[in-house]
Symmetry: C2
Subunit: 456 residues, 2 copies
């Protein structure tokens, strides 16, 4: 077998439907609640923020949700994404494990985010929307929505977390190259932003605050909708194209994963690779060990509480049951900006409660060590977020070596690190610190969780 083993699907095999895990859940998701009445929300409650097609996708229990032709048309630009067997890495690790990775960095924005940005832009354009507003952390999502907006003729406005806005001018420039407007959050453009700035003029921002700003703008303007890059069911749904393709590609390889690894921030790339396999297991297929890898500095799955919480800091969003660190929690400034969210996708949280997935957390130095080892073996420099999945996969491969068992490990390499080289510079310079969250802040944020009597 040669060192480079790539499994390629013909573009006619771009999936025609996304896979909806809600169809196969043994227990349904707890309902999303209205923040005022604390009763389950209906489609109309969400209509100011999203077009009806996406609201329906949020709640549907149909197993297969068709991918519209114009979305598949754009997907064709970079999909099907390649699946690689990491033969060189296996040799370096001297592991009997068979390591596979799905590479989503081939998209024009360099990550998996366009998988949902494109359908979101499409459904909004179909609904007559003129402008999308969103938030972004590291900028992967903002630049992906900017890309999709450019292709579908929509204005895009992005509230970028202030600390990333200052640290990552290149991501901002990418959004502007696609014609989007990028604003540092907290900003003076919204009531939510002004309230935060009044408390602290140099506030570094957070995803929760940026979401508040974006939601506020969308709610106030008829031709403007909101778009979210993770967490929500329809976003996770769109990402399942990753796992559906991977399943076909592993079939080409004559293999099936024993272990699946993904990094988790809001949960979308993890869901993308894992849900189709979890669904197959729930329908009687082979059992897979599914591992969510999160940063130790923002550990919603391993240290958060499973409770109803707001998606944003200003409490403009509905309440969702999820693993949360509390909506006021601000993680320290570690480098995987895409994993700095206080909550976890309700669907991913639900799976953890059902015992269908497990979670583990790593500090960033070890994560970058794994990323550099991967880069030198496989030739691709991963995004800091993706390094978490790399670390998880390497640890499983080492376990295989120690136990002398050959298992198939599949992980999602959700993006390249070309926009994140400052993190590597800091790593090589010995300036990367293993940051921890502030325990007192976490306790306070958890104490501030809204009190909710759960519906029966």
């Amino acid at each position: 077998m040669p060192d480079t083993v790539k499994y390629v699907l013909d573009e006619s095999r771009i999936p025609k439907a996304w896979y909806n895990l809600q169809a196969d859940l043994p227990r349904p998701l707890p309902p999303v609640l209205h923040p005022g009445t604390k009763k389950p929300v209906g489609p109309d409650d969400l209509a100011p923020l999203f077009p009806m097609e996406l609201i329906l996708q949020e709640v549907t229990t149909e197993r297969d949700v068709p991918i519209p032709g114009p979305v598949r048309d754009v997907y064709r630009q970079w999909r099907p994404a390649p699946l690689f067997r990491a033969r060189r890495l296996e040799k370096v690790l001297q592991t009997p494990a068979r390591i596979y990775y799905k590479y989503e960095g081939v998209s024009p924005a360099g990550s998996h985010k366009p998988n949902t940005a494109v359908p979101q832009a499409f459904y909004n354009r179909e609904a007559g929307v003129k402008k999308l507003v969103t938030e972004t952390g590291a900028g992967q999502w903002g630049s992906s929505l900017a890309f999709a907006g450019a292709l579908f003729g929509l204005d895009v406005q992005v509230f970028m977390v202030r600390v990333s806005y200052d640290q990552k001018p290149y991501r901002r420039a990418l959004m502007e190259a696609y014609g989007a407007r990028c604003i540092a959050s907290p900003s003076n453009l919204t009531q939510s932003g002004r309230a935060i700035l009044a408390q602290r003029a140099d506030h570094p921002g957070s995803l929760g605050i940026a979401i508040s700003e974006a939601v506020e703008i969308a709610a106030q303007n008829d031709d403007t909708k909101y778009a979210l890059g993770s967490v929500l069911n329809h976003v996770l749904l769109h990402q399942t194209i990753i796992g559906i393709e991977a399943m076909e590609q592993l079939e080409m390889a004559g293999d099936y994963p024993d272990i699946i690894v993904g990094c988790t921030g809001g949960g979308s790339n993890f869901a993308g690779i894992a849900f189709p396999f979890i669904g197959a297991q729930l329908r009687g297929g082979k059992k897979v060990k599914v591992i969510a890898v999160e940063p130790a500095a923002c550990p919603s799955l391993t240290r958060g509480r499973y409770a109803y919480d707001f998606g944003d800091t200003a409490h403009l969003t509905p309440l969702a049951k999820m693993h949360t660190l509390g909506s006021t929690f601000t993680p320290p400034g570690f480098h995987a900006g895409g994993l700095r969210y206080h909550g976890m996708a309700p669907m991913v949280s639900h799976l953890q409660e059902l015992g269908l997935i497990s979670a583990t957390a790593y500090h960033q130095t070890k994560v970058f060590e794994a990323g550099v080892q991967f880069a030198r073996a496989e030739g691709i420099v991963p995004a800091p977020e993706a390094n978490h999945a790399v670390k998880g996969a390497i640890d499983e491969a080492i376990r295989c070596r120690e136990e002398g068992t050959s298992r198939a490990i599949l992980f999602n390499l959700c993006g390249h690190g070309h926009f994140d080289m400052q993190a590597y510079i800091d790593y090589f310079g010995g300036r990367l610190k293993d940051l921890d969250y502030d325990q007192k802040e976490l306790a306070m944020a958890l104490a501030g969780l809204p009190s909710v009597v759960e519906p029966a």
Copy 2:
């Protein structure tokens, strides 16, 4: 026809041989001369710098040069590279032209450079070489050789032009992520570097100086060879995989180019896309109009002299006949760092003398305007170098509109701009200046050309 039209080759169709234009030239290339004797060099003269396989490729007149299995194996990671029909751009331009672009930004280093870095690393490893030393401008080449070195277990040392070293820390970090050592040039590590620094301690460097440093190190160490990312025949040979694939992909499209556009610095990506089509024409095939696009600030083809010159500033290299601005010429600091070389590949220069290609030069503001128009239509943000080709292609498409004729235009999108966003920031901020070369400096550099009595 949908908006996204991608022509994909199955990986079994990665070419099995590179195409050597020397087989079909109506007049052979002028010989390369020894700088001391000014007589044609033989293979032994080049042996301190290159492994014999590459020296033989430099002079062979065989039409098809087989691609070794281990090289094709690595190519498989990202090849065959996609060919796109730029339907959205055509619509924006309202042109009847059919615009196609070959996209080389899908490689792990983000450009076409790994096409030659991989075979160079392979042949060196086969020859028992332990270490490669090279120069780089913007860093595309240095990071590609670092990538290839990592895969073939070779140490890589890169002399990076000081001004780029300071401006582009991310490229440097990419090289280091692959395990290479990157040094600002001029440096204190070589006699050539020390001589320059003695004249001017804050010298910004040039490709010519960096080449001198790399050649000096290679010549002094038995287990160390030199690698060049453009200009030489074997480098251009390796890049022909671009055009060979494009020819097959256009066959899938049922089309054939009337016009081919590539940007030119040293000439390698231009050669890659154009040579297979020029060869077909020379063997009786259809005539194509081939346009080399260069920066107005470093215009070797449009303002240089066709003469014997050194490849480097310290005059350590052999003499090659090429369009040159003089080996002491230092261009102003415009953003397409990959196009800042004083000379042009002898083979490309020869084609211009034969009337088989033409050249045009643009200032950078218009070039970035074209790049942004392309990004918003096609969703890919090009490297500053590639923007030159985009501009050339757009101008030809507009000419088609004005003349009311539908022609097929093929251009090489040789890399993405993810490492070059500072250039876009400057463009959007109105800080991009249309730099010109210093006329006095050019005159001086040309006056300093070596005097050579050409062999009959």
